[in-house]
């Protein structure tokens, strides 16, 4: 591939990022001016200064996604081990594909009633639970290729050396799984971080995550703040990508 083609491709890839950043810095953009006018950092200053409540949304999104990722990763790691060693492993695994039959937002719509009755409608806990429904099965599928004969033998080895199940997990299984646990954690974090439809439906707007704010600004036709919120949304994944590409994409055998 020629140097020129590479540069063109990279340029194309960077264009959306540059575009959004540029919009976030503007205050006026009358037609048919190509670039926004009145460039300044005032939008960012306002946001970082605390008004607009975007800071709260960032914190909320971070808290929500961290909780979802931690819970899902831990639970699916534990559950996938018991499923992987079951004689009818394939049948059990196919259950994990169920939630993907639904689009998340439609699943949320069908479950609204149950959330209302359970008093979880419009609450942080409700949104967390709903997101668990889509992240947990993903985690189980993710870890299903991790458990194998070798690991099972290692677990038995710990037992034969006198260790309990807890010690087997703590001293061998979790350390050996560290890489996979991290990757799964970040992938589930991103799924939660990007989520809109389900969060909006179950949270009824009372759980204003960053994605909801983007949509809110779009509805208000406030292009500049929408772009700003978008920039905030994109930043963590880009940073994670910088640290480890595998976090955002990993080949899975389906």
């Amino acid at each position: 591939m020629s140097r020129l083609t590479k540069i063109v491709l990279i340029g194309l890839i960077l264009f959306p990022f540059a575009f959004l950043l540029m919009l976030s810095l503007g205050r006026q953009w009358p037609y048919p001016v190509l670039l926004p006018e009145q460039w300044s950092l005032s939008n960012w200053q306002v946001v970082l200064g605390g008004s607009e409540g975007l800071g709260n949304s960032v914190l909320l999104s971070v808290l929500l996604s961290l909780s979802v990722a931690t819970l899902s990763t831990g639970l699916s790691f534990w559950v996938s081990r018991h499923i992987a060693y079951h004689p009818k492993r394939e049948a059990w695994l196919s259950l994990a594909y169920f939630p993907y039959v639904f689009a998340p937002v439609i699943l949320a719509a069908c479950l609204q009633f149950f959330f209302i009755v359970g008093g979880l409608y419009g609450t942080f806990g409700g949104v967390l639970l709903a997101q668990l429904f889509i992240t947990f099965p993903y985690g189980v599928i993710f870890f299903s290729s991790f458990w194998n004969e070798r690991l099972r033998s290692m677990e038995e080895l710990v037992k034969t050396l006198g260790g309990s199940t807890r010690q087997a997990y703590a001293k061998v299984l979790v350390p050996v799984a560290k890489g996979a646990l991290m990757t799964c954690f970040f992938q589930l974090f991103l799924i939660s971080w990007f989520e809109y439809g389900l969060t909006n439906l179950i949270g009824v707007g009372k759980v204003p995550t960053l994605t909801l704010r983007v949509f809110q600004y779009v509805n208000e036709a406030n292009v500049f703040l929408a772009a700003l919120a978008s920039c905030l949304l994109i930043m963590p994944p880009v940073i994670l990508l910088w640290l480890n590409r595998q976090v955002v994409f990993q080949e899975r055998n389906i």
């Binding site: 059990w92 994990a96 639904f102 439609i106 699943l107 719509a109 809109y196 439809g197 389906i254």
Partner: protein, 285 residues
Amino acid sequence: MQERWAAYSSRSLFVWLAAVPIVAGVSYALLYSLGLIGIMAEGLTLVHWQEVLTDTAFWRTLGFSLFVAAVSILLSLLLALALVLRAPQAFTRGTLSFFIYLPLSIPAIVMAFFIFQLLGKGGWLSRLSYQLGLISALEQFPDWVNDNYGIGIIVAHVIMATPFFTIFFANLYQNERLGEYLQLAATLGAKKRQRIFRVAVPVLLRRGLATVFLYFMFVMGSYEIPLLVGSQSVQMVSVRTIQRLQRYNLGDIPEAYAISVAYTVMVVILLGGLLWYNRKQMGRA
């Protein structure tokens, strides 16, 4: 024994978190659509199903969703395969191998917003056209968003799917050692075009079929992008369903649930088809 308790409770948790919500959701939607539960429920009735299945708008929605998904996937596959086959190493090593991941950090809602600002009548391309003298007024710019062909939706999905498939096929190329097969084909006398269409494409598509299919399902059921960038007259499934659920007309709700169930049935049939095809492949292999 402790081990047995752990095994049992972990599998129960699995059933509760993975299967129960789906079963509960489908059951609720089905019962509601049959008039057995709900605010305006009057007992078992097929009237809502009749209305949905005879409504041309419903079939147009399904057809439109399939159309958008098919076109998006096709275009992205073409682009991704072209990129990978032209320069297989470029996406697994070097600068490009980092940059190709960047678009994956953009969520659907941001992509929708971006496409709107790019392709809309008041958007960047429109302004560029004005500056270049291609148009003399905003209204002259073509309808590329909120249009009846789903152009904006397709473009958005293509931008999201192409990097994904590129990375996927680049990895697959490496793992399947396609390069060696192509060299082998060359020594057997195959010309470039033959090598691409008789060796590379079949191998990549065959192994990648499940992933492509799942992505297809994902596009069909997408919500955020058609929500911001789609039109009111022809909608995609998720948007239509949610919209009907949230309208003031309570009579629309059972129909919305009927649509949900119908869509789910369609997905299950398609998934079943994929599994059957997969099993046949394994049997042959």
